[in-house]
């Protein structure tokens, strides 16, 4: 037991003496947590549309009014030059170009048919989809209104209309930050924990001090514990800073559920993540290797974590991979506790699996870390 205390003392001294790194691993996540959620916003708004109106009648200006009044679109250009508008798509200034051909109103009234033309920049599939869907909705509503206004007295075949009421639970304002900030915090804590832990151990390997430890009567398990504990504490610290300092203070995001639940889960999670760092360090001889391996796995974990793209959208094989990804569990837990106020019991599955992860990685690392070669 004494040995462990001596080891811990040494580790803490070394870590806290390295002020540059310490400052960086605290400052960087904070800055990123401040800035990144502002960037990570999927909401489709202000869709840039250009309208070419070669008809220029009262009807078409009414239609255009409807489009601009809808709030979805940002009319960036209005004119009669079709070619110029297409250029706007090429320059990626416009997502949609609506072309109203000349004689539109006349043709509509005479032949009961009128065609509008829409060109869409489909490079950003989502924007294209959503933009054209909105425009479709608006035009259809306008069409219906037109019929009701014009056909007076005649028997207008009434069509059934279904009113659809979407109600958003847990996040009524559909605030993306509520969803992104906790998620990004998870990513940051994960990166720092695994990364710094792995590098720390490998550095001792590189310098050779690990041999000195190997030759001494220090138990493997104590040595490893002494490496994990300081980073576990640092991880908790950064999480706290992010949770209270940034999420609460700057963004005003407060978890619906019990914050203590988050910390309980975090504690298990950190053990698992640090275990991964530990494991990587047993397979690395120098810092560059440790860095390469950590980066490789972290990249995959982050992408498959369900933060930027939902896990439900993944094909079955990918969902299996996501199930093996510890990060996805924590992101889900964050979401569940933050937005839905889930209780500890609701998280039973996640806790169980995370504990398994923690045991698995650390045991594997312990076995690997043999003092005798």
């Amino acid at each position: 037991m004494n040995t462990l205390l001596f080891l811990l003392q040494k580790e803490c001294k070394q870590i806290f003496r390295n002020t540059l790194i310490l400052r960086m691993i605290i400052a960087m996540p904070i800055v990123q947590l401040l800035v990144m959620p502002l960037a990570a916003d999927y909401e489709i708004k202000n869709i840039e549309i250009a309208i070419v109106d070669e008809d220029r009648t009262a009807l078409t200006s009414q239609l255009i009014q409807h489009i601009t009044a809808s709030g979805y679109f940002n009319l960036i250009n209005y004119g009669t030059d079709y070619k110029k508008s297409i250029q706007l798509i090429e320059n990626e200034k416009a997502v949609l170009v609506l072309h109203i051909p000349s004689g539109f109103e006349k043709h509509l009234q005479k032949e009961d048919n009128g065609t509008l033309f829409l060109a869409v920049n489909a490079i950003n599939g989502m924007k294209a989809n959503v933009g054209s869907a909105y425009l479709n909705q608006i035009i259809r509503a306008f069409n219906q209104e037109l019929r009701l206004k014009t056909i007076v007295g005649q028997a207008l075949p009434l069509m059934p209309v279904i009113e659809i009421l979407p109600i958003n639970w847990y996040n009524p304002l559909l605030n993306y930050r509520f969803f992104m900030v906790p998620g990004i915090l998870v990513l940051l804590v994960t990166m720092i924990g695994s990364y710094m832990c792995a590098l720390n151990i490998v550095k001792e390997k590189e310098i050779g001090t690990i041999e000195q430890i190997n030759v001494s009567p220090v138990k493997k398990s104590y040595f490893i514990l002494a490496k994990l504990i300081p980073f576990w504490i640092i991880g908790q610290f950064i999480f706290t800073l992010g949770l209270f300092g940034i999420a609460r203070w700057v963004y005003g995001i407060i978890p619906q559920g019990n914050t203590l639940i988050l910390y309980r889960f975090l504690s298990i999670y950190l053990v698992a993540i640090l275990g991964i760092g530990l494991l990587i360090s047993t397979y690395s001889e120098n810092q560059q290797q440790a860095m390469s391996l950590t980066f490789f796995f972290m990249m995959i974990f982050i992408l498959m974590g369900g933060l930027f793209t939902p896990i439900e959208s993944m094909p079955d094989w990918a969902q299996w991979v996501a199930r093996l990804n510890p990060v996805s569990y924590f992101i889900e837990v964050m979401r569940m506790v933050f937005s839905k106020g889930s209780q500890w019991d609701d998280l039973k599955n996640h806790v169980g699996i995370m504990t398994l992860f923690a045991l698995f990685f650390n045991t594997w690392a312990l076995i690997n870390y043999k003092k005798t070669g």
Binding site: A40, G114, V120, A122, N124, Y195, M291
Partner: protein, 367 residues
Amino acid sequence: MKQFKGFIYKEFLHVFRDKKTLLLLFGLPVIQILLFGFALTNEIKNARVAIIDDAKDLGSRQIIDKIEASQPLSISRFISANQIASTFKSGKIKMVVVIPPNFYENLMHEKAGKIQLILDASDPNTATTLASIAIGIIQSYTMDLQGETKLPLNIKLETRMLYNPSLQGSTNFVPGVMALVLLLICVLMTSVSIVREKENSTMELLLVAPFNPVIVILAKAVPYFMISLFNLIIILPLSVFVLDMKIMGSLTLLFAESTLLIVTALTLGLLISNIAATQQVAMVVSLMGMLLPTMLLTGFMFPIENMPLPLQFVSNLVPSKWYYIIIKNILIKGLGIEAVWKETLILAGMTLILLMLSIKNFKTRLA
């Protein structure tokens, strides 16, 4: 010149002897393309929804059938109103469709029906998409009901999707992944490699030797330069054959611009290596300082136009953002140098500035 070659050879040996680094250098780009191509999408493909059917009539059955028949949605279970919260808590079901009593009757006689969609908006993205899918299904049901009724004053909208008629995700992200991979790997590897020599004091050895230190530094960059180009050679065919992406523009221009980005990244790595005293610092700066910003501010994951102005400004400083625009134009729109000369100039300008900064910094350290 011979010395230069000798250095380059040594650097190649360093790199290729290290299997784990090779995993990163070659494995990661491939895996990223595969992930983005097959796994990472915002499209809802197989979402389970719950139904509260208080009508239990022909109309509700028809709607339920339509939902079940649709590809993105499938019905998981039928619940009652007091079970909504518990359904959501488990996290697997994100939408509940509520059909009120007398639905079909109201629809036929008063021509007005109501349907409620209750969404788990803790993931607002999924919620919005689910809602729009449901709305689409319900609206098409409405149109089914209208059937043969011929309507006066029909406005038709003919839509043409440019550049990406099949609305594939790959067109959006392949250039993004290219940018991400090239930038991160080059910056990270170069900076760490140079700092490692510094740490091991072998740097002094090299500097004391009778040749231009610039050669030493350049020699460190060359292997990563070539590895990055090689990565491109892997990524492009992979995207074309596995992801059905089409290359519309000139390959030569593509490679030329990529070369420019690689040089930018290498120069950035050089600058970092000047400032960092230990490998740890170089790694933390390259990795953590650059990973998230590059991912988020290049413009392929999230639209830059949506971001607050200060962030938009910052994104202009991220080289991969310009590269992404250039590559999109060449790869997907098939445009030539006339369309991208502005961005190319910006990128080249960045490189020059970075280069001058590093050289100045390097010289002052030597002095």
